[in-house]
Symmetry: D2
Subunit: 367 residues, 4 copies
């Protein structure tokens, strides 16, 4: 792994800036013979696409992905897959003031401090636009997973926006695609709409928590210490823009449990496989998947580009107040849902290949 690359065997390198000619992902190590095409990847990108409703940035981008290499006759060839998305709506003029002043809570100042220069147009490399490339790469990972592990599914949704959490008793997965928040609760969707309207109109923004669940994950994925499945999931989610916390299973709340409560007791299932009676562990023990649902949550901080003036400094060291005009998401966490799903897909495929490489995918028998 490296600066802009993640993955051990299924390796994704994203590139590109918000307002450059294009951005994309270079995907290496994909199994050969996997059916992929641009329409399939476009499906996932369309889910993430901004400008779809008033809760995401009004920047209008078709975000059309092109496959420039690594596929032939509709199948992956095992060689690098280049996925390119051209930037078509680059209103650079919106960003004049940002060239001089650093948005508080934004990467503007650290990019300047580290590199001595920065592409200030729309946040450059630090823009959330980078996540479009992840979603495209995640589409390839999903296609490979579909071929290798039939029945595996990945579902992301929001469980919290600002102070409002979902009521788990009303959890309804069929609602997720029915509202702009990817929230599994119709009532919450209505309430959150009102809440977020207020946030937006007041020139403010707010954070969110996203949960991503993978079902049908084989037992045995992951490895000790730095190859732990949860290590890589934590890294994958924390690498998404604006993420400040990552939880596996019970997450931070695990601190409050006793060992008696935390033990996910085991019985033998009717299928002759281990049957866990609970899933505090989020499907991972000792860094290795148990075969239960893999459950990850991550918190996204509020967008730092807001219409309310905040105190900051300029490149010249002058103190100033800054209002960030432009088209910004009042809750960037909404668009993080498909991104979290994409990262889950990439990590699971990577670990599937890693495990197949080291162990041949043969499992220790029980019984």
């Amino acid at each position: 792994m490296s600066l802009n690359t993640f993955g051990h065997l299924f390796r994704v390198t994203t590139w590109g800036e918000s307002h450059g000619p294009a951005l994309g992902a270079t995907v290496d190590g994909c199994p050969p013979g996997v059916a992929v095409d641009e329409a399939m990847l476009q499906h996932w990108l369309d889910r993430r696409k901004p400008g779809q409703n008033k809760y995401t940035t009004q920047r209008q981008e078709p975000d059309q992905v092109r496959i420039l290499s690594g596929a032939f006759g509709g199948l992956t060839t095992g060689t690098p897959i280049q996925l390119m998305i051209e930037n078509t709506d680059q209103r650079s003029k919106d960003y004049g003031e940002i060239a001089q002043a650093f948005r508080p809570g934004h990467a503007d100042i650290t990019y300047h401090q580290k590199y001595g220069l920065r592409d200030y147009r729309g946040g450059g490399r630090s823009s959330a636009r980078e996540t479009a490339a992840r979603v495209a790469a995640g589409g390839v990972a999903r296609a490979a997973l579909a071929a290798l592990v039939p029945g595996l599914s990945i579902t992301g949704y929001m469980v919290q926006i600002g102070p409002h959490r979902i009521d788990r008793a009303r959890f309804d997965a069929t609602q997720i695609d029915q509202n702009p928040f990817w929230v599994p609760d119709a009532q919450a969707a209505t309430e959150w709409a009102t809440y977020l309207d207020g946030v937006r109109k007041s020139g403010n923004s707010v954070g969110a928590v996203i949960e991503v669940v993978a079902s049908g994950v084989p037992a045995g994925l992951g490895a000790p210490v730095y190859g732990k499945l949860d290590t890589d999931l934590a890294a994958a989610m924390m690498s998404i823009n604006a993420v400040k916390g990552v939880e596996i299973g019970d997450g931070m709340a695990a601190a409050e449990l006793t060992g008696v409560d935390n033990a996910d007791e085991i019985r033998m299932g009717n299928d002759g496989k281990p049957l866990f009676l609970s899933n505090h562990a989020g499907g991972i023990l000792g860094g290795i998947s148990t075969g239960q649902d893999v459950v990850v949550r991550f918190a996204v901080k509020p967008t730092s580009s807001i219409l309310t003036p905040r105190r900051t400094i300029t490149v010249e060291g002058k103190e100033t107040d800054l209002i960030t005009k432009g088209r910004h998401d009042p809750c960037v966490g909404i668009r993080a849902v498909p991104v979290g799903e994409a990262m889950m897909a990439c990590v699971l495929l990577d670990h599937l290949l890693l495990d197949r490489g080291q162990t041949g995918g043969i499992r220790g028998q029980i019984g």
Copy 2:
């Protein structure tokens, strides 16, 4: 990075099992000319050493570290440093029952499923003993940091045990070394002692939250996407045994903030450097350090080896109830404090070298 290795340039590979002849860390990429000796590393190991009070396992191990390579005349040579700790107190007989049955909430079952066999003596590779090797490697990282960044300090402490959180108003750093919990609050130390006694006597265990703060970190460490400083910190902390959640700065609570509140506003300090008026970001923006304190928290789940019977299955697929005898920590989170510090040291040094490699360590001027 790989299965048992972490780091980009300062690379640590830990090896060894709980009840094998020895365990250790192979440290590659350390700068040359750094003063290290066994006594210096022993200091950090002694902080982590079990058997020091009734709140940690009564296993008595001197945990003496030897430097087998990579140092000459008291200085690192720039070649791999091998740190070995011999296992001297290997009461394998304690672990007979574990050979057959899988402890619920433990890696026993996943190691069996993945590898088809496991070293069941004391948890083998999945034992918390592995973290001794991290602490030794962290000692080397601290020595290098001391040489390269005078004034950088790393401090870990517990902020929660079970349901009991510290009162930040009573925070007193001088207390951290004065109690067995590394808690910065004398009153909490007393209360927690009573609480944990009860947990232990009832044959139970409990989780904890640890906070690690690094002060004096230069601005500019970290890089986009997968080389983010917080990405690597999340991975480093999540890779520690029993950790289920990681937070940077405000962490999961960032979801509740608005953009107005979350903005760490900036003024010019008297030293001509940026002065941040708050630190919701935990010292990292866009994956790159701001120069503020780097603040990480992680949750440790309760020890799964407990004296209360839990339902489980055996390797033969028979259902059974299991009590885990032996010498186990009622709160493994206590010993995670020096481990978290060690991981912070390793990650910071690694990013310091990475940054020096790519940018030469030259910073963009402000003003």
Copy 3:
């Protein structure tokens, strides 16, 4: 490093097939603030461009490189640089027969065996067109080296074609750019032209040896064992299509030397630095540069696509004779000269950054 990526800190991932829409290189880890533009990179690509004379393939490609990311205002930003070259002259019809039969001596059969399918158009990923992407990336590396190590120069040239070797007594560096063979000897250029004409007209091809010399390389680049400068140079050159041998300094001939002859004796130079009296080592001792010229040679086998029929089999397992029509180089080694230079530039920059990362670039004093 990985399947299609090379480099430790300065990492280049090439992608693309001979007859796909485009090919290119994703360059990560470049120092920020380096002046690069498309014209500068085009200069190096034009040197490699086919169709310039009758000794290289008559495929006409402008091979125009575009910088899609990682530069702003003419300077590198420290983020990934995407270099794309569109394929404009894709005469796929030439390659019909190749879809069925495997060219002897070509990667056709192994790609089929490994991946189960292959992009047979022009060799797909195994085509020498991939090296255009390396030359573009090498252009970035040269720009960074020029900024970091003024005075460093890299020069490649042919020293052998088929059985004809250069006469070192006639070595004239000024001739290198004056003939289609990059040969430092005007007389050889004339003789080789006649020789290669004959090879080409007979429907045959021939191999070559290229030498690449880097002058002005600082002492101290490289590291023990797998980070050796010569290890990475050997890998870099062997990774070029059709290369079958790599030599450092005296290379294979070192076997014939005695220790007395091989010792590059050392005196003190007038500049107060070590002065080596010979350079059998090719500028590298123990994997680390000495400050002398770094000298690498590599052998390129003859093009396997020839007009003379050769026995082979088809995908269906039928035996057949194959003539490879199309526009092929009679000596692909000619175009390997700028490719070898590019790889040298990438390896040197990578090791410069690695060394700066680990040691800070501070050198042990002598005297």
Copy 4:
């Protein structure tokens, strides 16, 4: 890969100095369930062991390897395997003069220049003793290969010493173990003994060429560009101390061939598999194995520690003449034979795992 680590999935990190307490190899990523024990590894170490005859250094070392981790009940567990060899014969007093003066042709000066200090005792990290760790790791790789690819064999032998090459017409594999040179020719063994006696008595040393052949390698190992099988073999062999050239198949001589001669023509074998009529390619096309013998050669330069005085300088910059006393090999190439075999084993296993990871090891059918 990194400074002292090689391999993608089967990763070997060697550590240790010639005269430190111990040296060894940390082996990560080994498949689980492979039968290994110390006696098995000792077998390979004994082949490399110095002091066995007058042609290798008279340093007497038992070179006994211990397995400190990663095996349980005689089987690998899939966790890191630590292999340690204690240094028992550390006559440091022999090396007094070397502390001050740099041996010409040796890494002494470059280690000093790079790191500012060096462990001068016996060459420290740059000593050929490091290769003992590789041989131990190679023993693990051989055991895994034996389990995964029955019938695969690896054989190394010398084909040249100084100016004396073997006569391929007299090649007799049964002779390899019958003489101190690992030469497949009884007559050459006798002649070389006389020749090397003379070299040794004159206080000189000489170089050699070693060939390593792997038979029974499955088709399909390797990958494009930097994951080429020959790329990694070139890197592996070039990383061995004193190696200056690496060849695959016809190697440097490929430059002299025409395309007609170089084409390894293909017919269908009686087993329904492709049958190659020659093997100029050395078993690798496009970086991927063909199923033929994989053939690698490498040249080892003469030992730089010789009894004949050579001109050099001291750390203080004083000019001097140096004679290197001590127990040195007149031809270090002899001991490189088992080392080359070990590296071949490591590279093949690594690529077997890599291929299994990406493709599942399923091969494209022919016919």
